[in-house]
Each structure stands twice: as C-alpha cells, then as structure tokens.
Amino acid sequence: MSDTSLTTLPPGASARKRINGIDVFMWALRCAVAAIAIFGAVATLLQGRYSLAQWFDFAMFGLTLGSVYALIALGYTMVYGVLRMINFAHGDITMTGAFAGYFVASGVSRNGLLATHPVLAIVAIFAVAMATCIAVALATERFAYRPFRNSPGQAPLICAIGVSFVLEQTVRGMFGSGVKSYPLTTWHDAVINVAGLRVPVVNLFVMGCAISAMVILYLIVHRTRMGMAMRAVSEDKAAAALMGVDVDRVVVFAFALGGAMAGVASVCYALIYQQVHFFMGFAPGIKAFGAAVLGGIGSIPGAMIGGMFLGLIEAVGPALFLDGLGITAPYQLRDAIGFLVLLMVLIFRPQGLFGEAMAKKRA
C-alpha cells in the first residue's frame, strides 16, 4: 500500500504519479525474481542435465498433482463465491475423505475384492470418500459457519481455523498419529509407453478422475437450475433471494459440491503419495487455496487453471529454476517455489488471473 496520508498534497495534485520507496522496492523485487527465474532456467537448459523424457516426467507429475490441487481449489472457490468466506478447514475436510477411503481400500484389499473386482472396489473407495467429505463439509457449514454468518469481524474465519484443528485432532485421536500406507493396487506401478515416453498409469488414472469430476462439476454449475442459482448468489445474494432463491440451500449446495470434489481429490492424493496421515490435508489445502487465489478466488475456471499451474510450477520449477543456480537438492525447495509464486501473485495481482476487480462489487 502506498502511503499518501503522511504528505499533504496541494489541491488538484494527482497522487497517482508519485513514486515512493515501496513502489521502487516492489519493482526491484519483481525484477529480482524474474531475473533469478530466467537466469536459473537458462543455466539449467545450457547444462543439459535433464533429458526430454525427464522434463516430460516432471510435467506429467506436475499436471497430476495440479489436477488434485484444482479439485480442492474448487471447494475454496465455490464457498468463497457464495459466502465471501475462506473455508480454512477445507484441506482437513479433504483429509477426512482420504482416511475414509483408506479404510475402504484396506478392507477391499484384505478381502480380495480389489484384486477380483477392481472397478467395483475403486468405485466404493471414491463413493465413501466423497460421502465422508460431503458429510463433514455440510456439518461444518451447519454447526460452525452458519451461526456466525452475520457476526461482525473475523468470527467465521476464526471458526474455520478452529474446525481445522478439531478435524485434525479428532482423526489423530481416533486413528493415531502414524503414517498409514495405502494398499497398493496391482496397476499402481504400471507404466505404459506413449510415443517412447513412459507414463505411469496412476498419473493417467488420477488425471482422468480429476478431469471427469471437473467436467461433471462444470455441467452442474452451467446446466442445472441449482448451478445457475449458485452463480446468481455468488454475484448478488440479495437479488437472488428476490428471485425466490433460498440462499441457505444454495450455500449447502456449494459446500456439498466442494465436498464431493474434495472426496475425489482425497483418494487421488492418497494414490499419488500412497499414504494417509492426520496432517496430510494441511499442505495441499494451503496450496489449493493458493491455486484458487491464483486463478481468482470465486472463479471456477480460475480454480481449475490455478491448480494445474501451481502443480506444474511445483514439479518443473525446482529443476528448471534452481538447478542451474547450483542449488543442491532443489526438490527440497518445491514447496518454497509454490508458495513464492503465490506470494508474488498476492503482491502483484491480488485479484488473480481470472478475478474481477474488486471495484465491480456492489454494496
């Protein structure tokens, strides 16, 4: 923020033209980050340490991870759309789905269903994870958010952080704090060849699920009455109510859709990393939130593209930007790169890639 209140301007003078220290610092920061990124990328490419196949692997992993971020980001963006509130517990809601999916997965793995009827078993895992996420999301909305919706200040946000802790600690208390490894499917480590490039089946599977879920979501939002009502509510709640829309029902609908997407994401995420843990929702939650902001919070295509972009940056970024700078073990800095991108967006384009200017918002 530029500080104009300290200096009194003569009447009629334009404050816009003034350049102060903070502006200079911001520009310097912008240039420095761009310079490091470009320099690092050029150096990496000149060194030629990575083959084309390796770059392809990075990109493939990035898109896989990104599609999961995108699914989670949709939950943030839809709830923000209808309530103008950040559901900070969304990452942990996703975690509850991963646990539910894990229990079904280890059940079907032990009784052999996973081997004999893999499709049925996987549908069951997804169904239970989605149902769990939806149920937790709706309970959170009903008992933790709705009572505080009209309270002043940051009450809903603080509530959301509280819910996040409650979910984490409840799962920890019930199932322990250890890492549980996800039962492996037979095809989990399979790799297929596409034009000489090796593509892990699990990546294709995760992307396929995520993209199907997003297509279905898109159709629901754009082709159904409730979807239309949701878009109307996120533009103007009072006007939508005047049209006969029960805003509370639309809010429930948005939480349910977000929960369903989180359920799909939770299983995908557990398949990628092959484990579940009570704290596993935190990092993807924060990153997906970042992805939603990156795309322009409230925008559904924005969340999808923001998620993909963040996943890609995270997977390709360390090798591309850092390797050439001579940084050892650039992968340790994966999260740092992801969050740096986020920070840059928040600083330089707070409305996100697809977000509209806040000035357009009506009182």
């Binding site: 009502a229 878009r231 109307a232 533009e235 009072a238 006007a239 939508a240 109510a241 049209m243």
Partner: protein
C-alpha cells in the same frame, strides 16, 4: 387486500429510516410511492421483501403476517421486487437472467412460454439472449430487470426507480411498459424520483419524507397538489 403495511418502522442501527408507515395495496392498480433521496422508499420495499427486519408494525400478505418469512418465501407468495439499480446478474446470459426470475416456479412449459412472451415484449432482449447481461446498455439492463421480475408471474410487482439513469426517451418506454404490465393484470407498487410521471399513472399514491408518509391520495390529484410541486420542483 393483497398487501398491507401497518405502522411499520425500521432502523439501521440507531438511525430510524422509516417511521410508522402504512400502505395498502388492493388488487389491480398502480400505487406510487414518491419522495426525495433518502426518504426511506427503498428501505420500505426491502422490508416488504423481507431483506430488512422491521422494528415495529406489521406487513401482511393476504392478511398473514410476513414476520417469519424469508425473502424467497415472500417472492413465492407473489410479491416480487425489481430492485433499485437493476441488480441484474451481469455474468449470466440474458436468457439465464429471465430463467432466474422464474426460479420460484416449477411449470417448465409455462416458463418457456413466458420467456417467449418477454422476448415479444422486449425484442431487443431476444436478439441478445445469449449475451452476458453485464454488457448490455442501461436501458437494456432495465428491460432485463423488468422481464426478470415478470417471469415470477408476480401478483404485486415492486419496482424501485425503474427510470433511474435512463435517457428521457427510454424513461417514456419504461413508463409505457409499466402501464402495459398493469393492464395485463399485475398490481404495481412503483417507487420513483420522477415523481410527477409516477403520480400521473398512479391510481393511488403516497408521498414520503424523512421516513414518514406525509401525503396520500389519488395519483393525478397529488400531481397537481401544490405541496408536492413545491417539494419536487422547488
């Protein structure tokens, strides 16, 4: 009586915006509510629509108090507001805006017929049915807002300053439309700053000042009342 407001008061925090207002709306006519900026007209409409809580008095629809009703339930009882500033859904298409207007209805066949009727009433909207409504001109947006309100098949249409910000020629059209809507059987409660025009077409009218009704009577009669003229024409 469809709609009856009795001794209604409401406040924003400590600031009383409406005091002891009583308005009666019987089936069939045009009722005008006029007054200067900040008189409390929009607040009155929003209270009727259930968007604002009232602090005293009662609002009745068909003799039943609306105290427990939420805004969407009031709309479903046929009391539909076309809000001030149009408030169309700018990112939805023109056609989606009209369908939103019919959100409280379930008769799909009749909704499609009504939509086509709106396109007859406003041919401009038909040409632009797939266009995102936020890109329309002000006059076209007012058409969307009006058509959207009518799509609910209201018994009473509450219109808050439909002529606001429109060119004089378009204002004429808006007033013609209001009369046509009324002639087709919809009761209208019209809030206007364009006081004289509103009074001319009103069967009955109320003049509001500082949150209170200060004058009431048949519209054309009030239009000639010197107190009204002195207030609004200076």
């Amino acid at each position: 009586m469809i709609l009856e407001i009795e001794n209604m008061s409401l406040a924003y925090g400590n600031i009383e915006a409406v005091r002891g207002v009583s308005i009666k709306i019987v089936d069939g006519g045009i009722v005008a509510l006029v007054g200067a900026n900040g008189a409390g007209k929009s607040s009155t409409l929003n209270a009727i629509s259930g968007l604002l809580p009232i602090s005293a008095g009662t609002i009745r629809i068909d003799g039943q108090s609306t105290k427990e009703l939420k805004p969407h339930q009031i709309t479903r009882r046929g009391i539909v507001q076309v809000p001030e500033g149009r408030r169309i859904f700018g990112r939805l298409s023109v056609e989606e805006n009209l369908l939103m207007g019919a959100f409280s209805r379930n008769d799909h066949q009749a909704i499609a017929e009504d939509r086509d009727r709106m396109f007859e009433l406003f041919p401009r909207l038909k040409e632009r049915r797939r266009q995102v409504a936020g890109t329309l001109s002000g006059g076209e947006q007012q058409m969307v807002a009006t058509a959207r309100g009518l799509m609910a098949r209201p018994r009473v249409l509450l219109m808050d300053e439909p002529s606001m910000g429109l060119a004089p020629l378009v204002v004429e059209q808006v007033f013609d439309t209001i009369q046509a809507i009324n002639a087709a059987g919809t009761t209208v409660l019209l809030v206007e700053q364009n006081a004289l025009m509103a009074l001319e077409i009103a069967d009955h009218a109320y003049v509001m000042e500082h949150g209170e009704i200060v004058l009431e009577g048949p519209g054309p009669e009030l239009a000639g009342d010197e107190r009204v003229i002195s207030i609004y024409l200076g």
